[in-house]
Symmetry: C2
Subunit: 601 residues, 2 copies
């Protein structure tokens, strides 16, 4: 599988883009004309730079508004093409993308279009250049891939083929099955982009909302498979216009892009990386802090007990039921205030999980560990949260829990008590502004989680996007969200949701032990009573403890929140009758309460 | 004209929204239910707060998914309504917005819908409450205003009327002429929003892209006129969901909102503020700086001469042809580095211009002036640029230029020399991220300028939006743009474009006198040559001086740029044969060159 990406997909000047593309590990690159025009590098310098970086220039693009023009215009267009052939020779590029004309003067005449493209191909051939003709979804007369192919077939020249673009094909609702009828050697190039399914004019959709395969709603893998069966042997090349990627760092975006292509290659059967080892639950959540007292107090109030300390690091283990929280006072220097620094997931085959993570370009976190410590592998997620692959207390290998030993004052791990916390239900991580889609792809790709739809949640200061990634049985659930506007990292809130079978008891106990619960306005309960005729006692208890209520087609959800410590807060949740969500309808109430609490508390 | 705004249009908690609405000068407010639910204030406290602020609560909204339900559901919906009537009594609100149902269980049965709405109105009447029924554009069975009105007519109850919403009506392409057939007293409420014309599913369009009247593409004023002719006597109320307004400061947005309503009132003939005094040209541009040497050097190289100094302030006047630049070293403390602080426009009737500005809520800038100074009035634009209304050298009143006197070393103002700068062509101001639409409305409203379409310009680090506002004859042109991502104020670039009839001469002279011109990559000229067969000499001169070229249906445009000093740079422009644009196609080249120059220069 040869991989490539169009320079327009990344931000910054051309030289930075090329460096990022090579560093991520791509084999080649499409040079977007505007990136060359705005570059201080000559075409020869770009050629040398690419050669140094080991990048093949797969395509120069786009050449616009060429074909099916009145006679007086043809000469000018051919002259323009000759100048571009010169540039391509200097670049060392031998394939030119010509996209179907959008010019008002273009004629609706397939024979004329074919004649002109044949002329262009004849000229190109003299320079050792080939032409890949592509239908833009908003082309003036030619806007579908099968129409473009009919014109190419009619022109019948060896230096003329077609370029297929998954966005242009799938956004129009065209059936990609027809690709099978195009001879593979006439598919000169394959450009790939995904997009969220939206009802929107196709030009705006294309220019602003494309995303990498696996991040949207198109069956890009199916289209690739069809093209491969037709005999396409060129590179898989990403061409994505996206408002966010235009602003994000090129190096990060390039890695994200290649990961999407590797996942696509796996889906299309081109590569066989180690399969995901789908996690079965959370092993632990690790909080890093320099001052552990506030978190110790909070954990104690929530019913956790300290059950051990790490034998070689300043880390404490706190437990309740199957929920384990690590308090790390040794690694917090890089963050401001308490933060959720790492998550351990119970993984049937940790070794395979790490091999898959590496194959999927996740940075493996170097561990400083003592000789006697159990081996424990971790990779870094896009937001720098560390992800550990654990097999807790498995009989066949040393458990990470053996590195913890009880000291005086610690208690023996106990089974869950009635009304206590049973396990970690989910964790929620606010992502850096530019990495929302990337984060979802990271978790689905590495762990085999499935992504829910993205929701807009109303924060008093803007819309917050949120989407959950989870295993099918809900054993591991991670909620990814982004704040309404870009802000500093230390404002990115994170939380740990703890599951109980009896929220009223758990919350009341926590409150009585001194946990500060987030107060919810009385108006919320007036509305809750208007919607569901709850009895007075229940309503009073909810009001007293700040318990929120939601319902889906399966069941009910009760949840409440603690105050925030640093960037971190806790949620207590009770799922009734298989409720699957996260209480999204209550998010505006919770977010407003958190803003209010911040200002007063 | 009674003015109102829905709280959902503004950011922040309810109490801040109410303060902002009152401070801007609105008469009333719609209370959006979610704003109440998330507020720590009780309904009684909200009522008191509004009374203190002099705000009438015009509407409580929305009550959803009520009508045309199966019998078992009706009781629950009526019970829910009774609870909301209680809340409204506590609030002191007497009008409830009921929007057409989107619930899957709603039946397609107008008679049933009318029967249920009549039941609701009967209950409401017992509480002294009236019901305004509105068709959501995406309502399940009722989605047009005329359909909603037919159901209201069928229900035939005095406490039931209809609510018209300009977005729901105009986004569906409905003809608002039918409003004339609704008895005015049955139009209980009128909600107003504009929106840019977009092909997009109407729910997304509504939730994210509404804007204030005059900022979009709908004929909101026409709709209002029709409703008034029908006999509507209620308030004009804004209900705008917009991703940007959700994040912007409520106080600023509220002023912007009321300005749009005042302009709408004027268009609809409801009010008669002083008419705009449309400016005829630029009187001056004022640069504020603490260190004037770099700008003095730049102005000198561009061919300007110092012709005088202000008699009471540390301000120098530099002139060339009809272009005047003020260098102010007394007011720069509030900005970092040289910045474009003020603009003077030649105004036929400065007094009327100020009265209009005040009527349109523009803050008048208090002037510190000596007794002998000529009177000169200014208002502050949304980005804090000061806007002066001038009549330079008019015979009937003292000219601001009389406050400047030549000192030794100054020269006498000369007529334009051949190949010199003739006048200020336009100024370009990067707006704060949240104030792009507001700024366009400010200039069109105050000065009577017309706004061009908004363009997306590709900066290497994201898309930059840009739109021009100009007088019909092009005498005053202001380009407003926003950077791709929010950033600090001192990064907001500004520039002054100077018109010449002979750019080659002007640019060459400037370069020879030591002006640093922005270098443009050679690749740009290869492409220019490919598109237009320019002769070798011209191409060499363009390359040497960094001259860019554009063409529209009327004529040609030549332009080049100086290096940036602080936040400010200059552009030299030559318009040939009535070219009307600003060289947008060259913006990516210029922006990339500026980034490159910043890193190396």
């Amino acid at each position: 599988m040869r991989t490539s990406i169009a320079t327009v997909s990344l931000s910054g000047p051309l030289s930075e883009k090329l460096t990022a593309v090579a560093a991520a590990g791509f084999d080649g690159v499409e040079i977007f004309e505007n990136d060359l025009l705005t570059a201080p590098l000559s075409p020869e310098e770009v050629r040398l730079r690419c050669a140094d970086l080991g990048l093949r220039i797969e395509l120069y693009q786009p050449f616009r508004d060429f074909e099916a023009v009145p006679a007086d215009r043809l000469d000018r267009n051919l002259r323009r093409a000759e100048r571009k052939f010169d540039v391509m020779e200097r670049l060392g590029a031998d394939l030119l993308l010509v996209c179907s004309s959008v010019a008002p003067e273009a004629l609706d005449d397939d024979a004329l279009a074919a004649e002109h493209l044949r002329l262009l191909a004849e000229r190109a051939e003299e320079h050792g250049i080939r032409i890949a003709y592509e239908a833009l979804a908003w082309g003036r007369h030619i806007s579908t891939y099968d129409h473009a192919w009919r014109v190419v077939e009619m022109a019948d020249h060896p230096a003329l083929g077609t370029c297929l673009d998954s966005f242009h094909i799938l956004s129009r609702g065209s059936d990609p099955a027809g690709i099978a009828e195009i001879p593979g050697e006439k598919i000169f190039f394959l450009q790939l982009a995904d997009a969220p399914l939206m009802a929107m004019d196709v030009l705006r959709w294309s220019r602003h909302h494309r995303c990498f395969p696996g991040q949207g709603g198109f069956d890009v893998a199916g289209l690739v498979s069809t093209a491969l069966r037709a005999g396409y042997r060129g590179p898989l090349s990403l061409e994505v216009f996206n408002d966010v990627f235009r602003q994000a760092g090129a190096a990060t975006t390039a890695v994200d892009a290649l990961r999407s292509l590797l996942l696509l290659g796996e889906s299309a059967g081109l590569t066989s990386p180690p399969a995901p080892s789908v996690p079965t639950g959370f092993a632990f959540a690790e909080l890093a802090t320099t001052d552990s007292e506030p978190l110790r107090g909070m954990l104690g109030a929530l019913g956790f007990s300290r059950t051990g300390r790490h034998t070689s690091k300043p880390v404490e283990l706190w437990e309740q039921g199957e929920a384990r929280i690590l308090l790390n006072t040794g690694s917090a220097d890089r963050r401001s205030g308490p933060a959720l620094a790492a998550v351990g997931v119970e993984t049937p085959d940790p070794g395979r999980a790490v091999r898959r993570a590496e194959a999927m370009l996740a940075p493996v976190v170097p561990r400083r560990r003592a000789a006697r410590d159990a081996p424990l592998d971790a990779v870094a997620a896009p937001d720098a949260t560390e992800l550990f692959f654990c097999r807790t207390d498995a009989p066949d290998q040393p458990s990470w829990t053996r590195d913890f030993a009880a000291v005086p004052g610690d208690v023996v791990p106990a089974d869950a008590v009635p009304g206590g916390v049973r396990r970690i239900d989910h964790i929620a991580l606010t992502q850096p502004w530019h990495q929302y889609d990337e984060a979802a792809l990271f978790y689905t790709c590495l762990l085999g989680l499935a992504a829910d739809d993205s929701l807009d949640l109303a924060d008093p200061y803007g819309l917050r996007r949120s989407r959950a990634v989870a295993t099918q049985d809900g054993g591991v659930r991670v909620v990814l969200n982004i704040a309404p506007a870009p802000g500093p990292d230390d404002h990115r809130l994170q939380h740990i949701a703890l599951a109980t079978d009896d929220l009223l008891t758990t919350a009341r106990r926590a409150r009585d032990r001194g946990a500060a619960l987030l107060p919810i306005p009385a108006n919320y309960y007036d509305d809750l009573y208007a919607r569901h005729a709850l009895d007075a006692e229940t309503l009073a208890a909810y009001t007293e403890l700040g318990i929120l209520h939601d319902r889906d087609e399966k069941g009910e959800f009760l949840h409440c929140y603690t105050a925030t410590v640093g960037r971190v807060f806790f949620e207590l949740v009770q799922r009734v009758d298989g409720y699957q969500g996260y209480g999204a309808r209550n998010a505006p109430v919770r977010l407003a309460a958190q803003h209010a609490h911040q200002h007063t508390g």
